[in-house]
Symmetry: C2
Subunit: 347 residues, 2 copies
């Protein structure tokens, strides 16, 4: 029914082995023979059987990318950047690699399940994006999986996530703490003292690091850290909206709101606007990540720019061994404070 390599071999009057060799281009084949084979491939409209090839060669050309939410541009940008680097030469069978994007939804179980699925596919590489879940048991489970993956020859790269100890995974970590510190520093410099903080979901490294940076900045300037001014919530717009309502209720005197990320900040802006508060005149707002839409917010959002595309591309290159891993297997990627119209001095 479907045409196989043997069919091509028959048509080209060579052995199946020879066809395999020209297709993979790893062995020397006479130009004339190659021509004949290629023509047969074309005439028969032959398409290599991936699974069979992967089974025989014990490797596949699939690259796994774990993301929390592919609908969120934060992850979409990284995933796209990875994609752009995993094609090209170096691979077998035309060197074309395919990205398997796995939406974990932030769930620890799904993270593990997908890792197992990727292991099952004998993925060439796996890239984990986004912050890690802070649970010792889960971290161990993940580390175990990663170890088994690397043992099986799968390259593992963490992109925007802290290193996984006792693991050969290369880590490209975002400096969330430093970014958070600079952001709050900026607000304190402007004269703010009552700063609401809408943190991300609890038990995640990203949340904790950004919050630690915030608190470090406050502490460094002797600004009291009122626990009532911190609210946790998911990384979405609604969370920003609701949390802002809550903060305003708890502390009507606040003069600034720092959000876990830009999406949350947009929700915060909406809540303030709906309350008749002007930005930044009445309340300043700041985000994190500098997603593409942030510059179009009105006023434009002050935020910390994370080089998502660059980081994703680098992770992809390292996964493909096109670039050598950073010394020690760990590199820190810094964010840049983008001061825009949404922040100003307190009224």
């Amino acid at each position: 029914m479907t045409v196989t390599l043997a069919d091509v071999a028959a048509r080209a009057q060579v052995s199946p082995a020879t066809v395999s060799r020209v297709l993979n281009g790893n062995y020397p084949v006479a130009a004339a023979t190659r021509e004949r084979v290629l023509r047969a491939v074309d005439e028969l409209d032959y398409v290599l059987n991936g699974p069979a090839s992967a089974l025989a060669a014990a490797t596949s050309d699939l690259v796994g990318i774990l993301v929390n939410d592919i609908a969120d541009p934060f992850f979409g940008i990284m995933a796209g950047a990875v994609q752009s680097e995993i094609g090209g030469p170096g691979g077998r069978a035309g060197g074309e690699r395919m990205a398997v994007v796995c939406n974990t939804g932030g769930s620890p179980e799904r993270e593990l399940t997908y890792l197992t699925l990727l292991q099952r596919q004998r993925a060439a590489a796996v890239i984990l994006t986004g912050g890690a879940i802070e649970d010792a048991e889960h971290a161990d489970a993940i580390a175990g999986k990663l170890r088994r993956l690397t043992e099986a020859g799968t390259r593992v790269v963490l992109c925007g996530r802290p290193p996984s100890p006792d693991t050969d995974a290369v880590a490209l970590t975002f400096d969330n703490r430093g970014g958070g510190r600079r952001l709050t520093d900026h607000l304190v410099n402007l004269g703010h003292r009552r700063i609401g903080y809408i943190a991300g979901p609890e038990e995640r490294t990203t949340t904790r690091h950004r919050l630690e940076g915030h608190r470090a900045a406050l502490a460094a300037r002797g600004v009291p850290d009122d626990p009532a001014l911190t609210v946790h919530g998911p990384y979405d717009r609604r969370s920003g909206y609701d949390a802002t309502d809550e903060l305003l209720r708890r502390a009507p005197d606040l003069t600034a709101v720092v959000a876990a990320n830009d999406t949350v900040a947009l929700g915060a802006c909406a809540a303030l606007r709906d309350k008749g508060l002007r930005i930044p005149d009445d309340v300043s707002v700041a985000g994190f990540d500098d997603l593409p839409f942030s510059i179009d917010a009105v006023p434009a959002l002050t935020t910390v720019r994370l080089p998502l595309h660059e980081a994703g591309a680098r992770a992809g290159r390292i996964a493909m061994s096109k670039e050598k891993p950073p010394p020690g297997g760990v590199a820190t990627v810094h964010g840049e404070l983008m001061v825009r119209g949404s922040t100003a001095g307190p009224r």
Copy 2:
């Protein structure tokens, strides 16, 4: 080195076939035996070999999703929705399908290449999202590929794309024409006569259909269609910015701008603002898609809401045969006009 199904069989003192059966859960197996096998799997930390399994069963659990740009929430939302529907029913690692997201960047060649790659992987299903490229030769090539895919047992679903003739592909088409018509109708109703139109890239069905809707609305109301008022460009913010500058230069008297999509509309807003023009007082602006950020634009963007999540989910279910295809294999998905603050009567 790596543990195989035979190892598990040996440890559980059953035949490999039995292990395969409990793992796939398709045949009846005695509870006691199943227990023993599962225990052995656990103790040996066994992970099924996907390629081998796919080879033997002649099917894989990979589902391909073609998108123009995964960093664009328009595609990210659909991809995420598809993902959420392709997982298996059970929580166990059986029946779990994985999504292979392919970024075509809108390039015809890459579209074909990815289709071939997916065919090579023996993908269980393929879902193509976004508008089609309007080139007869390319359309034929695509149709040929799709035909070969379905012949090989791969289910093909088009999501937000017109039907592909002479093909078994199920199509969930967006009513871009109707949406475009309603949007411009709304503006004409408000009293606008000089409406700039920033169209998407040429030679794409989405672009053409939205533009046709726009022109149909103008024609129906007897509003002259000045060719100078239409500018083409890619689906990005910058295009919206530049095109608006250009439109303003060509027609300083325009009172409204309709953009190809929300992202482009955001760029248009920025350009107007930079020129000191107020929205909607001086110029009204409308977008298309109703992406999440559109409601947070200031003023909130009037646009046409496309049920991206629902459409993606439905495409996923049809691809997985969880839902039966629409009669005739074609269904039209309608958009809803969302009137918000960015449009008002002309000054």
